[in-house]
Symmetry: C2
Subunit: 168 residues, 2 copies
DNA sequence: GACCTAGCATTAGCCGGCTAACTATTATTC
DNA sequence: GAATAATAGTTAGCCGGCTAATGCTAGGTC
């Protein structure tokens, strides 16, 4: 069974699709692979990002996690609730500030660091398996610039800004 | 307030993030922009793909749409149910084959073609606003190759296996 | 005709993402 | 000190994605 992935609307050829079609396609393929790899350790696609932050700083406030993950508070709340239910993290209200909820790793959560790091490496390897190091750097650079363009909040601003942009 | 987007785990700089982190980031930014643009015409991010297919061939079976969108049947069923509820499409069982459900555009659905096409163009323009035509072609090429690597179903295996797989 | 298989669609339920609306707490300001 | 503003989380509800399980229809085979 050929497991296909991605949402596209263009014809068969991938090459000539619009970038707006290719981005969801590659992202879904990547998410699906990540999900199937992470399922080995009982995680769903996306949950690794939370743990990665906690491995760097274990008691972290939910607001901090939300900012670093660049997601909205309700999304974080649901994710953390599931991770807590799964036994990978714990949540308790801060004594110093009654508004904040501190999130910390449990032993099970800490135990995932090595396997998830390994999975993450494997994922990156498969993602870039067809690219030379130079191409990888190029892709990183292009994706970074596209992200900036997409998060530029509409208009490019005053003329000077547009000129700066055209000159790059 | 700077509306941020994407899920990342790497430090501040985008450039040096792994491609596995950049892909979800750029995808989320792209989806968010698409969603806010499509909201103008009452669509949610993703629904445009269904309509794009129907503009090319209006009575299309649900199974066909599912295959072309490269999503799973339940996902298609829910999306189509919403689009039907919103009045953009209609569904009826085929008389020729009692298993298939034929999906066709309503007038409202057809009326979205021009505005959505315009939105799609604007989206692509903002996505590529910082890239030269050569860089756009390069990005398309790189994304296509990465997609192929990600959907390669694990290891490429020994030469004979690859040949077998190619023959299916 | 009876049986079995294949194909199409739906339901239930989970995961990640969002907005809107709400509560609770802390910080400011007067 | 009281009223107000800012901050942190939660709840409800929607959207797109998935798997597993179910039902229904059409095609074969005997």
């Amino acid at each position: 069974m050929t497991r296909s992935t991605s949402t596209s609307v263009d014809g068969g050829g991938l090459e000539d699709a619009s970038i707006s079609s290719l981005i969801p396609t590659v992202s879904k393929a990547h998410r699906n692979l990540a999900g199937s790899l992470l399922a080995e350790v009982g995680l769903a696609a996306g949950q690794q990002f939370v743990l990665m932050l906690l491995w760097k700083a274990s008691p972290t406030s939910q607001a901090d996690l939300t900012k670093q993950l660049m997601i909205e508070p309700p999304t974080a709340a649901k994710m953390l609730a599931r991770l807590e239910k799964a036994g990978f993290i714990e949540r308790r209200r801060s004594a110093a500030d009654g508004r904040v909820v501190l999130v910390s790793l449990t032993e099970s959560g800490r135990a995932l660091e090595a396997p998830v790091t390994s999975i993450w490496t494997r994922l990156e390897e498969q993602t870039t398996s067809d690219l030379t190091p130079a191409e990888q750097a190029q892709l990183r650079h292009l994706l970074s610039r596209v992200t900036r363009s997409l998060t530029a909040d509409g208009d490019p601003g005053p003329p000077e800004a547009a000129a700066r942009q055209a000159a790059r």
